[in-house]
């Protein structure tokens, strides 16, 4: 590779943020253009990377490796494989959409700068192949998100932002100790101190109990981020209080850093421990699915409802991850992307409703379908994708997770399936209350979707329908990496996944 494309994916937004922050506040349009150019460039680069990505490759592509802190054995090591590929592309595309489509109302410059810093951080997290580097990106993301929620959010924004920051940082505290311990304990097997993910995963040979402790350290951090029941309580607050752009990014890509981390740094580094911890994590995931769904049903605030639905959906992803079969993990990876698209779009639409009505309370909304049918149509489609209707993207991922988990986690799947039904319940019921019926006085003037909003949502809808109808190109790129991950797990533990082949 002559162009260090992955490095560019991280640096372009960062440079954009730097340039934008140096411009005068009054130059609002120039600042906006800088933000647009850098985020769109990043998006295009990520798409170009997707096109160039060799289908069927199981290893890391476009690898770029340079020494960073040689005293500590830390390197700038980036790479992308089937597991991270679509998350990177999702990040690359979601950010320009959010920057174009959502108006922060005040302090545009600062908002855009933080958005770009956030993008660099998220990109870096998905691309890092060095434990230290990953931690740096994983943690740095907190700062822009903190400010986005705290400055541009709603009434309880400072409480929510602080809670978000402290929760995540507390999780990371365990991971940092885990990372350092991993590197030092692996030193004996490798021969020198290295924080390199691949090196540690391939060469290390932790004692069983050591590996388990380290795994727990990592998983606590990721469980907060996902969030996994019972560490989820920051999420409804953060989501509800965040500005629309923040919610979309939070749901779209930020939470995925947790589930992605579980795969990349949990299962890959500590295969034996992952097998060992399987029952606990599966149980927590299923509790999350059902609890999230029930809690969502009870919500009075539309945004909070979507937030709780996230808890449920992420539960499915964790279920798929720790079912440890090719199909389930492939489904999980796919669902990470799908959830980003569907829930991101849902938050976007809730934001649009709030812009018009200045309320998100379900009881105050009524009969919107009668006055804004196209708007309702968009909402319906996105909602159905979130429910997992066949033909739309949500179905593919969820179905793969359930079918793939059945052989290894039967009773958990049985319980989790009720979550699918509950999802239909809370979303359809919400839809009914908000969109059906006769609009009352306040809702009569609900404006129909604007051209800009429609164009923005069309991108999401296109992705929803395309993936739902024709998931094969995506699956083809995800599967080889998942397969090789599981081979790694099988070779390093006494776990064997049951013999069954996906219908090919």
């Amino acid at each position: 590779m002559s162009i260090p494309i992955l490095t560019l994916l991280v640096l372009v937004p960062l440079v954009g943020a730097l340039v934008a922050s140096l411009l005068a506040k009054s130059n609002e349009s120039i600042v906006k253009n800088v933000a647009l150019v850098s985020s769109i460039t990043t998006g295009l680069l990520s798409v170009w990377m997707l096109i160039k990505f060799p289908t069927g490759s199981a290893g890391f592509e476009f690898v770029s490796k340079h020494s960073w802190v040689s005293e500590w054995g830390i390197s700038w090591h980036l790479g992308v494989d089937g597991i991270s590929l679509f998350l990177v592309v999702l990040t690359g595309i979601l950010f320009p959409l959010v920057i174009v489509g959502i108006d922060p109302h005040h302090d545009h410059k600062q908002y855009l700068v933080w958005m770009l810093v956030l993008e660099a951080g998220v990109m870096g997290s998905f691309l890092s192949l060095d434990l230290f580097l990953f931690f740096v990106f994983f943690e740095i993301v907190l700062v822009p998100m903190y400010f986005l929620i705290g400055k541009w959010g709603y009434d309880q924004r400072i409480y929510a932002a602080t809670k978000f920051f402290i929760y995540t940082m507390a999780g990371s505290a365990f991971m940092l100790v885990g990372i350092v311990a991993t590197a030092f304990l692996a030193r004996r097997d490798i021969g020198y101190l290295s924080f390199d993910l691949i090196e540690i995963a391939e060469k290390s040979n932790f004692a069983t109990s050591t590996g388990r402790w380290l795994f727990v350290g990592f998983v606590i951090a990721f469980a907060v981020k996902v969030p996994l029941f019972p560490l989820h309580t920051w999420l409804p607050d953060a989501h509800t209080q965040a500005p629309t752009g923040g919610s979309v990014i939070l749901a779209g890509v930020l939470l995925k850093m947790g589930t992605y981390g579980m795969l990349r740094f949990g299962v890959y580094l500590f295969p034996e421990a992952a097998v060992w911890a399987k029952p606990v994590l599966l149980t927590l995931a299923v509790i999350g699915i059902i609890y999230g769904a029930i809690a969502a049903t009870m919500q009075k605030d539309l945004k909070r409802l979507v937030a709780y639905s996230s808890v449920a959906h992420l539960g499915f992803i964790v279920l798929g991850t720790f079912a440890l079969t090719n199909q389930a993990i492939t489904g999980g990876v796919m669902q990470m992307v799908n959830h980003g698209i569907s829930t991101g779009a849902l938050f976007l639409m809730v934001g649009m409703i709030y812009e018009r009505r200045h309320t998100r309370v379900i009881a105050e909304l009524k009969g919107i379908q009668a006055v804004a049918p196209i708007f309702a149509g968009f909402f319906m489609l996105i909602m159905l994708s979130s429910i997992g209707l066949p033909g739309l993207n949500g179905f593919v991922g969820e179905f793969l997770i359930l079918i793939g988990s059945f052989p290894t986690a039967r009773w958990w799947v049985v319980a989790a399936t009720t979550g699918v039904i509950l999802a239909a319940l809370y979303l359809l019921w919400a839809y009914q209350r908000v969109f059906h019926g006769e609009p009352d006085e306040a809702n009569k003037s609900f404006a129909e979707i604007t051209k800009r909003e429609a164009m923005l949502l069309s991108v999401f809808v296109a992705a929803i329908v395309f993936t739902g109808v024709y998931p094969k190109p995506m699956l083809n790129r995800i599967e080889p990496s998942v397969k090789s991950l599981l081979e790694h797990v099988e070779s390093r533990s006494n776990y064997k996944q049951p013999e069954f082949k996906a219908g090919e």
């Binding site: 802190v69 500590w72 230290f132 740096v136 400072i158 402290i166 365990f174 940092l176 311990a181 030092f184």
Partner: protein, 496 residues
């Protein structure tokens, strides 16, 4: 018993003590020339002080180059030690002094109190600190400690307009006097048990397990008293109670000096005594230090969170940081591990980085406090993000660094300590330290909320003196640059 011919003076390598000589020259110049001539131009005293500190830093750097290929040695008849570790600590103190003088200069001009005395005292404190870190003998270390402390007592009480300053000075003086007494008594008992006050000799005597008097009770009591004395100086829990009042009462730039030069000197001395002189007795003192470290981390962080005055907040946060640094000492005391030296190097890096952070942070507090140095409540920072975004951004960087967010020097510092703790097997302590850092992060967030997210009421004119601006700029720049390129610092600290 001493024969007359023993009074031949020791051979003196003048170049190797040049940092001291430069500092001393600066002090004499300020006191003599300053008192014999009419009032200089505004800020001129500060420039002399800053140049002196910078000169000392340059000479230290030159010595470092010479040292690169020679083994550690001792100076002045074994009174001072001369190694990479102590030389870097000296450098660190010189740099911190330079930055603190820059902040002080702007402060004094603003308060119309410009004069040579304060700078002379600051430089004296720096000399005391440098003697402490290079001391190879507990008595010499005590001399350094007293020089440092006496200068600090005066500096703390130096504000004539604020009564809190005098009160804090007296408080500090009384408690600091106690601490010195504890320290000296500890030295006496260790001398009684080992027959020497020389650090190398104590270490040699203890490693042979020869305790005079046949009992180690005297030695243990000595160790305990030393720990109490140091505990006061670096404000470890439960010897921390003076910290908040003194930090709050002292003129803000002096608080910065205490947090940087004072901490560095006392901690390096602590490290020298415990991990060099008493290393073979680490089984005796390590458990105690572990308990103190945990207490300091937790109490410091928790009490920091409930304060409403920024200077008090930073006082408690400095206690929490002290707990973090102590984790490095615990690691350094794990003599059985090949990685024990990571504790020493991690501590050294932490002290350097923290010095810069604390001067930058308190430099900004100095600015915000305004004329009279009184506006240090959390409310005073309200709306700073609107009225002075550059200053607020600088503060944000420094606070994030103190919280240990990656890509700032603060993370490098924390990582170094955690690395040392983990490599020597102190996993629980590492986790406790990290969690305490999370609690402390809440405090930094509170200041950030006040600056950026609260609706501002600050209409006060916040003006930043030129020298203060340089100091804050340097601190922020160093924080970011070291965050991105830790090697710039680590190549120096990890070689000992």
């Amino acid at each position: 018993m001493l024969a007359a011919n023993m009074f031949v003076g020791p051979e003196i390598d003048w170049f190797k003590i040049s940092p001291f000589l430069v500092m001393l020259g600066g002090v004499l110049l300020l006191i003599l020339a300053g008192s014999l001539t009419p009032q200089w131009k505004k800020g001129a005293y500060g420039i002399v002080g800053a140049l002196t500190a910078a000169g000392a830093a340059v000479f230290t750097a030159l010595l470092w180059r010479d040292l690169a290929d020679s083994a550690p040695s001792s100076l002045l008849a074994n009174a001072l030690t001369f190694s990479k570790f102590t030389l870097f600590a000296t450098f660190s103190i010189a740099i911190a002094t330079l930055l603190a003088i820059l902040v002080t200069s702007g402060f004094l001009v603003r308060e119309n109190e410009d004069g040579p005395e304060i700078f002379a005292l600051i430089l004296s404190a720096a000399i005391g600190g440098m003697v402490m870190v290079q001391a190879n003998d507990l008595i010499v270390m005590f001399l350094g400690l007293e020089t440092l402390s006496l200068a600090f007592y005066l500096l703390t009480a130096s504000s004539r307009s604020r009564s809190a300053s005098g009160e804090a000075g007296l408080k500090y003086f009384v408690l600091g006097g106690f601490a010195s007494a504890f320290f000296l008594y500890g030295v006496a008992l260790v001398f009684g048990a080992t027959g020497s006050t020389n650090i190398d000799a104590i270490a040699a005597s203890l490693s042979k397990d020869m305790v005079l008097g046949g009992s180690s009770a005297m030695l243990l009591a000595g160790i305990a008293l030393l720990l109490v004395g140091f505990g006061f100086k670096v404000s470890l829990v439960p010897f921390h109670t003076w910290t908040a009042d003194v930090y709050q009462g002292a003129p803000t730039p002096i608080t910065a000096l205490m947090g940087s030069v004072g901490k560095t000197a006392a901690f390096v001395a602590l490290l020298r005594v415990f991990s060099d002189a008493l290393s073979s007795r680490s089984d005796d003192w390590r458990p105690v230090v572990v308990v103190i470290a945990i207490l300091t981390l937790v109490v410091g962080s928790v009490l920091a969170v409930v304060q409403t005055d920024v200077k008090r907040m930073l006082a408690y946060s400095s206690i929490s940081h002290a707990g973090f640094i102590l984790v490095g000492l615990v690691a350094a005391g794990q003599v059985a591990s090949a990685d024990a030296s990571l504790g020493t190097s991690g501590t050294l890096a932490y002290l350097f980085i923290y010095s810069i952070l604390v001067i930058g942070t308190l430099g900004i507090v100095t600015v915000v406090a305004g004329k009279g140095d009184n506006e240090t409540s959390l409310d005073a920072f309200k709306g700073l993000g609107k009225s002075n975004p550059v200053l607020a951004m600088g503060m944000t960087v420094l606070l994030l660094a103190q919280a240990g967010v990656p890509l700032t020097s603060g993370f490098v510092a924390k990582f170094g300590i955690i690395r040392a703790a983990v490599s020597t097997g102190s996993y629980t302590l590492a986790v406790v330290a990290m969690l305490a850092a999370v609690i402390a992060a809440f405090l930094y967030l509170r200041i950030m909320v006040s600056m950026w997210l609260s609706e501002g009421t600050t209409s006060r004119d916040v003006s930043v003196a030129f020298s203060t601006r340089i100091a804050i700029g340097l601190c922020v720049a160093a924080t970011v640059v070291l965050g991105f390129f830790p090697s710039l610092l680590l190549q120096f600290t990890s070689q000992n």
